[in-house]
Structures are given as C-alpha cells and as structure tokens.
Symmetry: C2
Subunit: 99 residues, 2 copies
C-alpha cells in the first residue's frame, strides 16, 4: 500500500459553529467521490483532527481546489475555525493490530 | 520546519478501558521527554486519533522501543484496543491559519 499520502488537518473551533456539522458531512461525502481518495478519519475534543488519505499529491491538490471545498474553506476561515493547520505527509510505513 | 515526521496512531477501544486514562497521561508525559519530540495532538470519539511529531525516524524508533512504552503497547493489545493502526509519515509541507 505505501507510499501513499495523508493530509493531517488539526483545528480549533470558534463558538459560532452554526452550519458546521452539515458542511462537514457534505465535505466528507464529496471527498469520498474524488479520484485517489483512500479513506478518512475524524475525532474532536478540545482539538479536532481529521486525517484523509490519498494516492498521490495531485489528488490532494485537486481536492484542495474543488469549488465546493473552496467555499467550505472560506467559511471555515470566516466563521468556524479560530485556528487550523494542514500537514501534507507521505506515509512511508504502516502496521496494524486487530483483535 | 519540514521535513519532519508524524506518527498517526488511530485506534478503537474495547469496553474494558480500566487503567487506560492513567497510562495515556503517563505516555504523553514520557513522550514529551524523548529526544526529537516536537509535539502531540489527540482526540477521540468513535475512533481515537493521536498524532505525534518527531525530528527524525531514529527518534520514533527509540520511542517505540522505550521500555515503559513497550509495557503500555502490550497492555493496549491485551486489554484496551480492539484495533489500532500506526502510520509513519514524512511531513513534506504544512500551512496554517490563525484568527
């Protein structure tokens, strides 16, 4: 499977998260339809972490430039997020455990 | 800052998480004392995601082999986790937004 790519998106929200949940669901639905999409995992407590997985850097670039996604990014900066950081990573090795 | 390394640890817990919280706090304290440690972020809902950041692969290898950490890993497989996956990643690019 490796190498493939991971986008680590960490964020802190503002107090005004109206509309966030719907947009988040929509973005997840859209991301899954993009070429090269491999998977996505999210969790949020004080900090939110979403990691999405992609076949290559071109896939990530295309998703970043997707028009609906650009709208979501803009709303995120304007309203929902007080902070976020995006890290583009190459997954070099992986292993797993299953009971 | 780039390149540096990220370890993405995703997990699902069993129903028997006795002792997990204390061990998790201890591992965070210990990780922060390791050479090359750059930072760590965690969140958990249905899935838990912990991402730790390191200067190089050697730092990650050393932390994986740390004796206290090995004990925690063993307890994790025996009791706390029904599933986990570890991905070792090279952070190639990053950008951030702050309000």
């Amino acid at each position: 499977m490796e190498p493939y790519y991971a986008v680590i998106f960490t964020s802190r929200q503002t107090k005004n998260i109206e509309g966030y949940s719907e947009m988040s669901d929509l973005m997840e639905t859209l991301a899954k339809q993009q070429p090269g999409f491999l998977g996505m995992e999210s969790a949020r407590n004080e900090v939110g972490i979403t990691v999405s997985y992609w076949q290559n850097l071109e896939n990530i670039k295309n998703w970043k430039a997707n028009l609906d996604h650009l709208t979501a990014q803009q709303k995120g900066r304007k309203q929902w997020y007080s902070y976020y950081k995006v890290r583009i990573c190459k997954v070099e090795r992986e292993y797993e455990f299953e009971r």
